[in-house]
Assembly symmetry: C2
Homo-oligomer: 162 residues x 2
DNA sequence: CCTATACAGTACTAAATAGGTCCTGTTTAG
DNA sequence: CTAAACAGGACCTATTTAGTACTGTATAGG
């Protein structure tokens, strides 16, 4: 299936946690780890990546930690994914100039993958961190309605976070 | 990055090849392998999967082979991906009932992932095999326009097919 | 009715990737 | 000056994916 890595999933959880803090305080990696029930080392690694991508700012020294580099409204899920997984492209061809692909003579799918990629990118870009941070109950009704039982009972292989 | 597996990529190439045959003839696995420059075993495996998903019909015996189970207009890229990779869901939560996720108390992202998944699914479903099979030059202009240099020179790790 | 050909199904091996942990700096508040 | 916390790696392991091989079954055509 098409999926993002666990790390990216964690990344979104961590970012959401930061965004949800009303005081926008600086939070230490260890605190974030506790708050999200993720391994401290894992969270630390994650934060470094997000920092380098410019989504966070860090403060060193004894009362150091991390905070969002800008308002949650200006950070998109696409940016978070991009920071952790690299650019959103679905096939081999996707990331490289079309003329580099060894199948380019046989394969006419190229331009279509680009279209698909664009749609996905766009969807991801339009979803802002601020929206994720907003508690479920308070979201504007209608937009997210979903029938109970709407969910497919697909077989999942991986199942739980550590 | 978000990406589909190589096998799926191959699957699309093979399906496209079948769809492109004007006579809609039955083609043997070995012929398809040659035509696509993929390993015969790999193609054979792939075809079985696509068969079981109902996208192909097979003919056994000495002049046997595979052909599309229905017109290329009625087969979507989403269906091909679904056949090979399983349902399109991007996170752990995605595939299972929301109340099963161990992070459900902390994580408010659930319903958003569902939305994203829907968008991706829809995009994939709307792209039909017929369109991929059509040679590039003949596609209706306008819909697919792309500036030269539009392509991001992102760093790719994997590079060529076997 | 026999046999070569091609699908059906499954099991296995090897390689790539991702996940997770740890260690050795460097900065800085107090 | 020192303890807390970030910076930046290196590294090991487990999972997943890719690719291959083997044994069985159906069938067209001589």
């Amino acid at each position: 299936m098409i999926r993002i890595g666990k790390l990216t999933d964690y990344g979104i959880v961590v970012m959401t946690h930061l965004a949800r803090d009303p005081a926008q305080a600086v939070m230490a990696a260890s605190d974030l780890a506790q708050a999200t029930s993720l391994g401290p080392s894992t969270v630390a690694k994650l934060l470094k990546v997000l920092l380098r991508a410019g989504l966070l700012v860090s403060h060193r020294g004894i009362r150091g930690g991390y905070s969002l580099s800008r308002p949650a409204e200006e950070i998109s899920v696409g940016q978070i994914i991009g920071a952790i997984e690299g650019p959103v492209v679905m096939t081999e061809c996707g990331g490289q100039p079309a003329n580099k692909c060894s199948m380019r003579h046989v394969c006419t799918a190229q331009s279509h993958w680009h279209r698909i990629d664009d749609v996905v990118r766009e969807a991801l870009e339009s979803l802002k961190l601020e929206e994720l941070a907003r508690p479920l109950r308070l979201r504007k009704a209608g937009a997210l309605q979903r029938q109970p039982g709407d969910q497919q009972p697909a077989d999942r292989r991986r199942s739980k976070r550590p």
